[in-house]
C-alpha cells in the first residue's frame, strides 16, 4: 500500500500543528506506505523551561492513559501482562525518524527495526505461519 495524496507535508521549522488533529491517533507509516502503528501518545521532555516532543509512543501501554478512567486502568493491566511476557522498553519511535506529517505520519526511509511489533511477531510465529500458505500472497 502506498501513501499518496496532496504531497505529505515535510516537517520544516516554523510549521505549526494541532496535537489532536495532526499527531494523536494518526496512522504511522513507513516511507513505502506500510502501516506501522497509530500515534498513541507523544513523549514530552522538559528542557530550559519548555516542553519538547521527543518520540511517538506506541502500543496498549501508551494508549491506556488516553482511554481514561477504569477502561484505561484495565488496558494498562493487560499491557503490563503482555510486556512482562516479552520484557524490554515500551515501544517508542524517535521523533527524528519522522519525515512528514500529512494524511499519515511518514517515517524516514532509513528507519530500521522499530521493535513495535511484539504482538505481530508472536501471532505470526505461533498461529499464522503454522497454517499452510501463509507465505503466499494471494494478490
Amino acid at each position: 500500500m502506498t501513501v499518496h495524496g496532496p504531497d505529505p507535508d515535510e516537517r520544516a521549522p516554523g510549521r505549526a500543528y494541532s496535537a489532536r488533529f495532526h499527531w494523536l491517533d494518526r496512522q504511522v507509516v513507513a516511507d513505502d506506505g506500510t502501516p506501522i502503528s497509530k500515534v498513541d501518545d507523544l513523549e514530552l521532555d522538559g528542557r530550559d523551561g519548555r516542553l519538547y516532543a521527543t518520540a511517538v509512543l506506541v502500543g496498549p501501554d501508551a494508549l491506556a492513559p488516553r482511554l481514561r478512567g477504569r477502561l484505561g486502568r484495565l488496558v494498562a493491566a493487560v499491557a503490563r501482562r503482555l510486556a512482562a511476557a516479552e520484557g524490554g522498553r515500551p515501544p517508542r519511535i524517535d521523533l527524528a525518524d519522522v519525515a512528514a506529517v500529512g494524511a499519515a505520519v511518514t517515517l524516514r526511509p532509513s528507519t530500521g527495526d522499530l521493535r513495535v511489533h511484539a504482538l505481530e511477531d508472536w501471532t505470526r510465529a505461533n498461529v499464522i505461519e503454522r497454517i499452510p500458505g501463509a507465505r503466499h500472497a494471494s494478490g
Binding site: G5, D25, S138
Partner: protein, 409 residues
C-alpha cells in the same frame, strides 16, 4: 470492459447492504406485509449509501486512508473504541447470520439440514479469504450475486399493472391490519441496513487493496453510482415480487423458502434454481465482506498492517482476527439461533455505529489537508449533511421503536 468490470467492488459491497440474508428476508417480508409502501425508503437508503460510499472511496483514493482509520483519528480513542465495539457487534452478528444464510441456500438445494453445512461453509469462506485474489473474489461473487436479477425477470413475468404499481410506490400507505409504529420500524430497519457501517469499511479498505490512486476517481464513482444501485435494484425486485405475489395472498415471510417462492411461481424450477444460486452467492459474498470487515476495523483502530492482498504472514494479527471471528460466529450459529432474528437485534448496535461512522467521513472528505483539491463540492456536502441528520434521527428512534413493536411483530 475493464472499466465496467471495475464496478464489481461496488456490487460486492452493495450485496452486503441490500441482499445479504437479513435484507433478503426483510425485503421480501416488507413486500409481503406492506406491498409497495416502503419502496421510497429503499430509495432513500440507496442514495445515502451512494453519497457516502463515494466520499469514503474518494478519501481512500486521494488520502490513502480507509474509513475506520478516520473514525479514530477524528473522534479520538475513546469514542473510536465505542464505535469499534458497536460496529464489531453488528458485523459479527451479521457474519453469523450470513454463514447460516449460505447453509440455508444449500439446504434448499440439497434437503440436508442447514446446520450440518455451517462448518463446511465457514471453512470455505476462510479459504477464499486466505488464498483467492481480492479482485478475483470480487468478480466471482459480485457477478454471481447479480444472478438475483432473476427476481427482476420474475416481476415482469408476474405481469403487474404498472400504473397501479407506480401509484402505490408514490403514494405510500400503511395497509389495513398494520400499525404505523411497525411501518416505521421496518422503514428504519431498511434504512439502517442500506447504510450499514461495514459497507463503507469494506468499500474503502477494498479500494486500498485495489491500490486506488487520485487518478482512479472515475472508478470510485462508477463503483458508487453504478455498483450500489445494482444492489438496490436487486432488493427492490425481491420486494416487488413479494408485493405482487405474497401480499395479496396474505403469505407471511419468515424463511428463505418464502423469499424465493415468487421465482418458482413465475419461472418454474429453472427460475427457482437461479434464485438459489443467487442467494448462495449473495450470502457467501456478504460472509466475505463481513469477515474481512471485522479484520479491517480492528486492525485500523490499532494501526496494524492489514489486508488480504499481501502474504498472510505480513499481516498476522489481521488474519488472526478474521479467523477468530469466523470461529466465534459459526459457533454462535451452531447453537441454533434463528439467523434472521440475529440480524434484527444488530439494528440496535447499528444505531450507535451509524453516526459515529458517517460524521468522520463527512468531516475528512471536506478537509483540504487530507483531500487537496478533491475535497467535497457543494452537492456532496448538501447531501452528506442531510443524510447525517437522517442518520442521527434514525439512531435516536431505532431502540424505542424496536422495543415498542417488539422488533416488528
Amino acid at each position: 470492459m475493464k472499466r465496467l468490470l471495475a464496478v464489481t467492488l461496488g456490487i460486492l459491497t452493495a450485496i452486503g447492504g441490500f441482499v445479504d440474508i437479513g435484507d433478503l428476508v426483510a425485503s421480501s417480508l416488507v413486500g409481503a406485509r406492506f406491498g409497495f409502501a416502503l419502496v421510497w425508503m429503499l430509495a432513500v437508503g440507496l442514495v445515502g449509501i451512494c453519497v457516502y460510499a463515494e466520499m469514503a472511496g474518494r478519501v481512500a483514493a486521494v488520502a490513502g486512508r480507509p474509513t475506520f482509520d478516520l473514525v479514530r483519528e477524528r473522534l479520538g480513542p475513546r469514542i473510536g473504541l465505542a464505535n469499534l465495539a458497536a460496529s464489531l457487534l453488528v458485523t459479527l452478528l451479521t457474519l453469523a447470520a450470513e454463514l447460516a444464510g449460505v447453509a440455508l441456500a444449500v439446504e434448499l438445494l440439497s434437503s440436508v439440514p442447514y446446520l450440518l453445512w455451517v462448518p463446511a461453509v465457514t471453512l470455505l469462506v476462510w479459504l477464499v479469504i486466505w488464498r483467492v485474489r481480492f479482485e478475483t473474489m470480487e468478480r466471482i461473487f459480485g457477478l454471481l450475486g447479480l444472478v438475483l436479477i432473476v427476481f427482476v425477470v420474475a416481476v415482469f413475468r408476474l405481469d403487474p399493472s404498472w400504473g397501479d404499481v407506480l401509484h402505490q410506490v408514490t403514494h405510500p400507505a400503511v395497509p389495513q391490519g398494520e400499525g404505523v409504529p411497525t411501518y416505521l420500524y421496518y422503514a428504519i430497519a431498511l434504512f439502517a441496513s442500506a447504510m450499514t457501517p461495514y459497507e463503507v469499511f469494506f468499500f474503502s479498505s477494498g479500494g486500498i487493496e485495489e491500490k486506488w490512486k487520485p487518478k482512479d476517481l472515475a472508478t470510485v464513482r462508477v463503483n458508487a453510482f453504478l455498483g450500489f444501485p445494482l444492489g438496490g435494484l436487486l432488493a427492490l425486485s425481491i420486494m416487488a415480487a413479494a408485493a405482487l405475489l405474497l401480499h395479496p395472498a396474505g403469505v407471511s415471510v419468515d424463511h428463505l423458502s418464502q423469499v424465493v417462492l415468487p421465482t418458482s411461481v413465475a419461472l418454474g424450477k429453472f427460475g427457482l434454481g437461479l434464485a438459489l444460486i443467487g442467494v448462495f452467492a449473495a450470502t457467501f459474498g456478504a460472509s466475505l465482506e463481513t469477515a474481512l470487515s471485522s479484520g479491517y476495523t480492528v486492525a485500523q483502530y490499532f494501526g496494524w498492517r492489514w489486508g488480504k492482498t499481501a502474504a498472510p504472514r505480513t499481516a498476522s494479527r489481521f488474519h488472526l482476527v478474521v479467523i477468530v471471528a469466523l470461529l466465534a460466529c459459526s459457533a454462535l450459529i451452531l447453537t441454533g439461533l434463528d439467523p434472521v432474528k440475529v440480524t434484527e437485534y444488530s439494528l440496535v448496535f447499528a444505531a450507535v455505529a451509524l453516526p459515529l461512522t458517517y460524521l468522520p467521513i463527512l468531516v475528512v472528505a471536506n478537509d483540504p489537508e487530507y483531500m487537496g483539491e478533491h475535497a467535497n463540492g457543494r452537492l456532496a456536502n448538501t447531501l452528506g449533511t442531510v443524510y447525517l441528520v437522517i442518520v442521527l434521527v434514525i439512531s435516536v428512534a431505532a431502540l424505542p421503536l424496536m422495543l415498542a413493536t417488539k422488533a416488528g411483530q
